[in-house]
Symmetry: C2
Subunit: 490 residues, 2 copies
């Protein structure tokens, strides 16, 4: 078997729920109505049973499925589950890549899909107040409709904005705008005991006590359930400049990055590295004419977002031209139209090519210091090749923020997911990197958390978990590795 699901916590009873739990859920169903709460057994899980990650575990059969339409109902549900020790798995768009929203134990699935109101767009303050179940695509469109811009962008735009916050989503524009954490001004969450923490301020400057929102952003539903957000919007960029550059090696990629940072005055919005095997897959194998010949050391997709279409393009081209003159860039193509820019992005996204030539695949989402990326990729590749000389391995990444994606085709040339995890995460540990740059830990990487975080850090995480969710009902088994029952939930 190629994919090994994380084992459910040993304390988990696989048996039928206790009479007390059945009675409590039935009473809750009568309070909330059958459209808000369905109680099992035999529930149709549909899309709530699985996320986008191939190696995610198959979800356990749920005890109940809740689809609250109001924050007060979320509070009621959590209050009841906490009192009766019923595990709760918060769920958004199910586009995650780490098994974070897949139930490992029989649980109440808490889908935020009906909390889908855009409550306010404040153009002066540059903010949008939304409920958690609004999709990323809807948030982007709503900002655009008011002449503003919500910069978070990633492949799964049917993700819910609450899930984007719970997982601190990243994507392609982090180098300019930051991760989701930087785009959230205010946040409302419901704690395990049902109390509602409403910190929905709209200001950038607020130092009135502890900044509680950061507890919930990126903790993957293990410390509370995010119900509403105040998002920070940006001015809509008036110009986009896109180029594909070939560089001899990672040293020149770094030099190009410094030139772009210095020359574009903060307008650099994407700096996407593609190693040769990936470039080959996304062009020649995908029957797409390579815009620059194959054979270079590395390819970089560069994008700048500016405010003055005429002058920005000239400035962008002059920075690229200077890099060519200096020998930092070996060859370059600057997009002359929106369609050309789109086709350069299609290469980076590997549209079609992945599915056709590199599927099923095991994806990694790691990060190391930007200065170490080149050497890390070489080292990691050598370790993988030593074990699986013929495996098909691709490297690409958002290099300006240290994030590297590795994709290994799962075929007879490769090892098991667990074996390859072991090799890649050992390399990450040795380079003092992070086992998750942007996808999160979820269920898939919890056994490797200690590769990137010290015992003291993990102990502090457990302290927080125990303080905020003493009964361990919230998303049990996620993020933190099992600790003999201390934090692994029910």
């Amino acid at each position: 078997m190629l994919h090994e699901a994380p084992a459910a916590s040993p304390a988990t009873p696989p048996a039928a729920p206790s009479a007390g739990v059945v009675t409590a859920l039935e009473a809750l169903r009568l309070e909330l109505g059958g459209d808000v709460l369905q109680v099992g057994p035999g529930l149709d899980v549909g899309r709530l049973g699985k996320d986008y990650a191939l190696q995610s575990p198959s979800g356990a059969a749920p005890l109940a499925i809740a689809r609250p339409g109001e924050v007060a109902q979320v509070a009621q549900i959590l209050h009841c589950c906490n009192a009766h020790r019923i595990p709760v798995v918060p769920q958004g768009g199910m586009t995650g890549l780490a098994g974070g929203a897949v139930p490992l134990v029989p649980a109440l699935l808490l889908s935020l899909e009906r909390l889908r109101s855009i409550e306010e767009i404040d153009v002066d303050a540059g903010t949008m107040t939304v409920q958690a179940g609004v999709t990323l695509a809807e948030v982007q469109a709503a900002a655009e409709s008011r002449g503003l811009f919500f910069p978070l962008d990633l492949g799964g735009r049917s993700a819910q904005i609450g899930g984007n916050a719970a997982t601190n989503a990243g994507g392609n524009r982090v180098v300019r705008y930051g991760m989701m954490r930087a785009l959230v001004l205010g946040l409302e969450a419901v704690l395990a005991d049902g109390s509602v923490i409403s910190s929905l301020g709209k200001v950038l400057k607020n130092n009135a006590g502890y900044d509680l929102k950061h507890l919930f952003i990126g903790s993957e539903g293990t410390l509370g359930v995010i119900t509403r957000l105040v998002l920070r919007l940006q001015p809509k960029p008036a110009s986009t400049a896109t180029a594909l550059c070939a560089v001899p090696s990672y040293a020149e990629a770094l030099a190009l990055l410094q030139r772009l940072r210095a020359g574009l005055g903060g307008q650099l919005a994407a700096f996407e590295l593609m190693w040769p095997a990936f470039y080959h897959l996304a062009t020649t194998l995908a029957e797409r004419q390579p815009p620059i010949d194959e054979g270079h050391g590395l390819y970089v997709l560069v994008e700048a977002l500016g405010s003055d279409p005429g002058r920005d393009a000239a400035q962008f081209e002059s920075v690229i031209a200077a890099a060519l003159d200096a020998g930092v860039v070996a060859d370059a193509v600057v997009a002359q139209s929106v369609a050309q820019a789109r086709s350069l992005w299609e290469i980076r996204e590997g549209s079609g090519a992945f599915r056709k030539h590199h599927s099923p695949q095991l994806p990694f989402d790691v990060s190391v210091a930007t200065s170490d990326i080149g050497a890390f990729v070489e080292d990691c590749n050598a370790r993988l090749r030593a074990r699986w000389p013929l495996a098909k391995i691709l490297y690409l990444g958002h290099a300006a923020d240290g994030n590297i994606h590795i994709s290994i085709k799962l075929d007879e040339q490769a090892g098991s997911a667990r074996q390859m995890d072991d090799v890649v995460y050992a390399a990450v540990r040795d380079w003092k990197g992070s086992v998750s740059g942007e996808h999160g830990i979820g269920a898939c990487k919890r056994d490797y958390l200690g590769h990137s975080r010290s015992e003291a850090e993990i102990r502090l995480m457990r302290t927080l978990k125990a303080a905020l969710d003493p009964a361990g009902i919230l998303n049990p088994g996620k993020v933190l590795p099992p600790d003999d029952g201390v934090s692994a939930g029910v």
Copy 2:
């Protein structure tokens, strides 16, 4: 009496320390050496007794003063103090404005001033790893020496960088670069029990478990003692454009802000509002020729930081000119030299004028939604005038991020600090603002925390405090209002 210090916690014994405490401190002194730990009574507190805030309480006489030169010594000190329930007050440059580093009870003063090594500057990654006691001025200069830029800037540049992080410092460039929280990639802190939490990663993208650094940033030394930081550096701006604009009212100031945001492509770095009484003080009263006549509704100091000196200036001037043509701006002066820019900033900083004509003063640092600033200032002013018709009150602020500073001259026309606090913070509460935009809560504002945060939020803050500092030794009496001994420390 104009200034009323917050009362020390009623549980605090004002008497001599117990024999156990004396013995423990003496043993610690023998371990660490007399240069690291001085034990009282009769210690010369020097600059560690008082911060920059006039209304800060007079510090209690310390039990001991520690000046550790290594992180391991910080850990030893905290471990000992935790075991013996000795209050610890972490101290940086003592430039705070909220009494956060002033001891309210007899305590060990833990000065970070000897942790002053700049450990690494990584130009490729754009990071600087520093110990907590390095001053802001030193960090700025070290970045500059490598062709990079650390954007945090504020009046008290002798502040220590650890204190900047502990208080989540703001300043003038937040609109572009964010507050201190956004400038910290990694952080090391020592917990109350002496365990060292080292999260010194250098990457922008890191989702490996809870992001612990945010617990320590902005919690004013009540949850842990920050010992090291990895700072995010920026490319050094190649151009600076500065202008002073007069606008008829706050509505036009907002319209100007939108134009600058849209027209400057993210280069807007400061948008500083000055209401007429402040402008009068900083120009005419200070014997400085007003660059724009008095009599306008509001004055705005605008600064943009760019990458191309020639083109940025033209772009900046064209945005200002368009705002003049549209009637948004009534009059404007664009600085034509560094000296002119400097003299415009001197107006905003009120250099000299404050000391001479508006001292002593009671400063406020509040924030409300950017769209509400104009109406908030009117309402707050009306409330103050209703009580003290002749008080001298100035308003200025970093409006793009919602932050407003109010300064009331403490003379016979004004009320007591407590009375005026009551009026201003009631207005902040009614406008759903924050009683601290950037200075923090410290000792001075803890009684007003509930004006900006709900009971549920404060309860969660107490939960965090109890989880991380169960003995309540860390900076007792700060941030959280007393709660019958639950979190108020020793």
